[in-house]
Amino acid sequence: MPVKVLAFAGSPRRHGNSETLLDWVLDGMRREPGVEVEKVVLVDADVNPCRGCNACETLNKCVQRDGMDYLHDRIIDADVIILAAPIFCMGICSQAKALIDRFQVFRSRKYVLKLPIVPPERKGKRLGIFLSTAGQNWDHVFEGAVPSVKCFFHVIEVKDKDIHYLMVNGVDEKGAILNHPTARQDAERLAREVITEIRARLAG
């Protein structure tokens, strides 16, 4: 069985810094044998914000019909889920926040309806990666984003210890990450580490 990787490019700017970081990770993963990668560009994916209607707490599905219909099963099926998004105004960009908030359907399933997200035999066999970039070079620039990212992964059965982070600050203008001293190597190393780890988990 191939390792399935599902990756979200959350930035509204195509081929900017966070998407470049994602592409380095995905290129690294594609070089490994038996890895299937699907990349979803969020601005083209038709994912509307959550309406806060709480209907999913009883229906176990979302009342909105949009791009999430396609993504839902892919999110469940993936072994590795990657979210890449830039920091705007000290938080994750609103496009990515809309996707995170639409995971409410998984939260309702898990915590309200107390139904499984993945079959029991797949528990502990899912890994997450959060990739981010920020123009500011402050160390704390990612702090507003991380708690929401943790929610995103927790509700789809990726545990805290199974979330990997690569967050690069001080890159603002398009292409700035190309001049970063370590980002590319860090991304490629992360790709290898995560694929090695998920293989071990799936075999275990």
């Binding site: 700017r13 705007f88 994750i92 939260r107 708690p147 929401s148």
Partner: protein
């Protein structure tokens, strides 16, 4: 008597008349009771796109997207106090409010890239920003991840981040009307901030 203190409430919840908007309404009622002129904008009824991250505003100081966001920023700049309200979804503010905050990039660009906009300290002291929020969860830290973006928003707009009106544990209280103190606190803070601004203007 000079001009009345003006207060603009911005409701960032997609859920009309829910806990957060009700808390905002209590704040605005208090402000009105203290003599302010009060308006409320509901973001989900406006038509604006999220920021594209194109950075065109870094060269021009204006946003290339022509929709309801730039006129709303003009309104914000015409008032003394803004009350920005959002529930907590997934440990952060809603995509609607974050969408608006991200659109303030052109104002940030005017201040820090083009350097053709500057708010003196006295202006900032006279303009008060208040964050209003509710959360279902009881955790004390449930609002923490919202603060950095709200702080950045008020800083960009030249408003002092004056206060929070926040109430967690909504699930336990069965909504804002079940909370023992939140609505009264919001009303009183609405009255109080208007008096503070009046004194500053006098």
């Amino acid at each position: 008597m000079g001009m009345a203190v003006s207060v603009l409430g911005i409701s960032g919840s997609p859920h009309r008349h829910g806990n957060t908007e009700t808390l905002l309404d209590a704040f605005l009622d208090g402000a009105e009771n203290a003599g302010a002129s009060v308006e409320k904008v509901v973001l989900k009824e406006l038509d604006y796109a999220p920021c594209r991250g194109c950075n065109a505003c870094h060269k021009t100081g204006v946003c290339i997207v022509k929709d309801d966001a730039p006129p709303l920023f003009d309104r914000i700049f015409s008032v003394d106090c803004i009350a920005v309200a959002s529930p907590i979804y997934s440990m952060g503010i809603t995509a609607e409010l974050k969408g608006l905050i991200d659109r303030a990039q052109y104002i940030w660009a005017r201040k820090f890239v083009l350097k053709n906009l500057y708010f003196p300290n006295e202006h900032i002291q006279h303009h008060k920003g208040i964050f209003i929020s509710t959360a279902g969860l009881s955790w004390d830290n449930v609002f923490d991840a919202a603060f950095p973006a709200i702080t950045a928003f008020f800083n960009t707009l030249g408003f002092e981040y004056y206060d929070n009106i926040i109430a967690n544990n909504m699930d336990q209280y069965n909504g804002i009307h079940g909370h023992p103190t939140a609505l009264r606190e919001a009303y009183e803070k609405g009255q109080q901030v208007v008096r503070v601004i009046e004194d500053l203007k006098a």
